[in-house]
């Protein structure tokens, strides 16, 4: 019976980890290889001259384990004969996690064996425990499967010691998901591209033109706002920063060329948090901003909330000032307040608003279909 390549790899990694963890001193590759049966298979280790194929396998294993977060330490220059490797239990194993309460500290059972006795201990108080549990729950609710998998993996580790399930039992906060939140494969590919800074190409459904086209971008980050995930990146064809809604992306391909080398760097001044800051639709766009003055004539809850989005106008408590980049969108937004918010300046905005009112009224009076 033969073993699948995936199983072989898992067995090899486990052997590699157990060999490293069994020694409290650094091991050269030759020493290490004697603890890993698959490294002995071609006989080159026994001959004292590891084959290039075997060395490549080890380099690949080391890279993949590190990318999973395993802190294998290199002593000396990578790839040299006398280079050695170490994995300290204290760097690899989770510290013991205790919970402090008014009744005392609940400590986890410690492993009374070499390598485990010196592990650190972290003590969470009850409020911190609730914060971890509810923070995990909130991140899970955002609909990104990669994010959820990372949260779940973290919680499973922490839950070996901490009662996280009980801590989150009182959280009755819900994030409603949009109808379509994106394909898991899309999130996986984008997460990979972001971490390695690789260019992506993808199908993108443009709602404005109702067509799907192949697009290319250098990803700068993923952000969640107003119930949707967006990729922000440099659109290489348009040479501009663009947001792409993840649920409209498909068939994402990450540039496979020069795998270990980033394709681009994110500009120094770019801040994902600032870019993702909540904005109203009329604040977005490339047009020069205009100052719109609006008179607040109504007192409904909706009108008051809308008024809060603008700035006060000195000497006129009924007026608010808004910075607007998209006049047409702003005019429609004002229209939705059905006369409680009315633009008074600049004239072009007033005209736009009046035109929208007239066109909408015509829809009902003339009977023409919307």
């Amino acid at each position: 019976m033969t073993t699948s390549r995936t199983t072989q790899k898992v067995q090899r990694w486990i052997d590699l980890l157990t060999t490293l963890l069994s020694h409290n001193f650094p091991l050269t590759f030759l020493d290490l290889a004697r603890g890993v049966p698959q490294y002995l298979a071609d006989g080159s280790v026994d001959r004292g001259e590891p084959s290039p194929t075997l060395k490549r396998m080890f380099e690949r294993d080391k890279l993949e384990l590190r990318s999973m977060g395993v802190p294998i330490e290199t002593i000396g220059e990578e790839g040299e004969e006398d280079t050695s490797y170490r994995l300290r239990p204290g760097d690899f194993y989770l510290p013991y996690l205790a919970v402090a309460s008014q009744r005392g500290t609940l400590k986890p059972k410690k492993v009374d064996r070499h390598g485990y006795r010196s592990l650190a201990e972290l003590t969470f108080d009850a409020d911190e425990l609730v914060a971890v549990a509810e923070g995990a729950a909130r991140a899970r609710q955002l609909g990104d499967p990669v994010l959820r998998a990372d949260v779940d993996a973290a919680v499973r580790k922490l839950a070996v010691d901490l009662p996280l399930g009980a801590a989150s039992a009182g959280d009755a906060t819900y994030v409603r998901q949009p109808r379509s939140s994106g394909d898991p494969a899309t999130f996986e590919a984008l997460s990979d591209a972001l971490f390695r800074q690789k260019r992506v190409t993808f199908d993108y459904r443009s709602m404005g033109r109702d067509e799907t086209a192949r697009r290319a971008a250098e990803p700068y980050g993923l952000f969640f706002i107003n119930g949707h995930w967006y990729l922000v990146g440099h659109d290489t064809e348009r040479d501009a920063l663009r947001n792409f809604r993840v649920s409209r992306m498909g068939a994402v391909k990450v540039n496979a060329a020069r795998e270990g080398t980033p394709d681009y760097s994110i500009p120094e001044g770019f801040s994902l948090r600032e870019h993702a800051r909540s904005r109203n639709a009329w604040e977005l766009g490339d047009d020069q901003p205009l100052e719109a003055i609006v008179e607040v004539r109504g007192t409904s809850g909706a009108a008051r909330a809308a008024a809060e989005l603008g700035e006060p106008v000195e000497g006129n408590p009924d007026r608010r000032c808004y910075e607007v980049r998209r006049r047409d969108v702003f005019a429609r937004w004002l229209l939705s307040f059905a006369g409680e918010l009315v633009p008074v300046a600049p004239p072009a905005l007033v005209e736009e608003f009046r035109a929208q009112v007239a066109a909408t009224r015509a829809r009902y009076v003339s009977g023409a279909r919307a």
């Binding site: 157990t18 590190r66 999973m68 977060g69 909330a305 059905a338 009224r361 279909r369 919307a370």
Partner: protein, 313 residues
């Protein structure tokens, strides 16, 4: 299924198993958050070593039968430290909590974050994980009111709310029992029993003018009721009457993406909504200008025309 995923799962379950005892497969699978078959496959892949030289002593000895598993090893008796990606995922959630919570609760969130940072594996590439994702849930409304409502909900305390509904000309005070907070399409809502209105109500955060936690406690309704309300009730208007709206071909695709439905032959879309509040109906339709038209009820059409005529003056 990648080897990396499999190894991560194995490293997570071994600390729960490696006491030499037999453990029920179902129980271990539940704790590991994976299904039974996958658990057995993961563990079998480690225990069945057909390609290993004879006489080899395994670092990890695993016995798997259909009902139970046991592991003997001196390795992996603790889970692996958190990875940077896992920490960033938890911190993203903690960041959202910071925006929801009262300032008195922020120190615990900060301390939790600091403690988690002490539980990660240190690698040179860790910096590259940071800042790849951000999320924001709050959009409109006073964060202080959200914090008060969130704290009162967890403490099961009633709240005095000054609220002005979308169509009300004046605000009014009411006492509510906050059962749940819901974020939907850029707005926060509190699902609460309203003592003044004697029923479950949904309040939109940006219409809350004041929120004060009271000393009086309340007993929450069965969670199932709240969950049903949150899941089923659209966050628009009140149920009961309906309104029918036709969206023009120019915007119908966006509406369909958000709400579903089938386009008509001319590319337009007709949708039906619960309508208990005429003011909401007017605002909902007018936001689309001439690209949306109320088909029914007639009185809503008349109200829209009346408002448009006043605006045209």
């Amino acid at each position: 299924m990648s080897a990396a995923d499999q190894l991560k799962r194995i490293l997570t379950v071994i600390p729960r198993l490696a006491d030499g005892e037999e453990h029920p497969v179902e129980e271990v699978a539940r704790l590991a958050g994976i299904d039974r078959l996958r658990l057995v496959a993961d563990l079998t892949s480690v225990s069945e070593r057909y390609d290993t030289p004879g006489g080899w002593v395994d670092g990890v000895a695993i016995t798997v039968d259909p009902r139970s598993v046991s592991v003997r090893t001196s390795h992996f008796l603790r889970p692996m430290r958190l990875t940077m990606a896992e920490l960033c995922a938890l911190e993203l959630g903690l960041g959202l909590l910071r925006r929801e919570r009262h300032e008195s609760e922020l120190p615990a969130i900060e301390r939790a974050s600091e403690r988690l940072r002490k539980a990660i594996t240190e690698l040179p590439q860790n910096d590259r994980h940071e800042g790849l994702r951000v999320a924001e849930l709050a959009h409109a409304g006073d964060p202080a009111h959200l914090a008060t409502l969130s704290r009162a909900r967890r403490a099961k305390r009633k709240v005095r709310l000054r609220y002005r509904s979308g169509s009300a000309k004046a605000s009014s005070d009411r006492v509510i029992c906050p059962h749940a907070l819901v974020h939907s399409a850029g707005s926060w809502y509190v699902v609460a029993y309203c003592e003044t209105g004697e029923g479950m109500r949904i309040f939109r955060l940006d219409r809350v003018e004041a929120a004060t936690q009271l000393a009086e406690e309340f007993t929450p309704s069965a969670d199932a009721d709240v969950a049903r309300l949150v899941a089923e009730r659209p966050f628009v208007g009140e149920p009961g009457r309906t309104m029918t709206v036709r969206y023009s071909p120019r915007i119908a695709r966006w509406i369909r993406e958000r709400e579903g439905g089938e386009l008509d032959a001319d590319g337009s879309l007709v949708r039906e909504y619960p309508l208990g509040d005429m003011g909401w109906g007017v605002r909902h339709v007018l936001q689309y200008g001439p690209d949306a038209e109320v088909l029914e009820p007639t009185e809503l059409r008349k109200e829209i025309v009346r408002r448009l005529e006043r605006m045209a003056v």
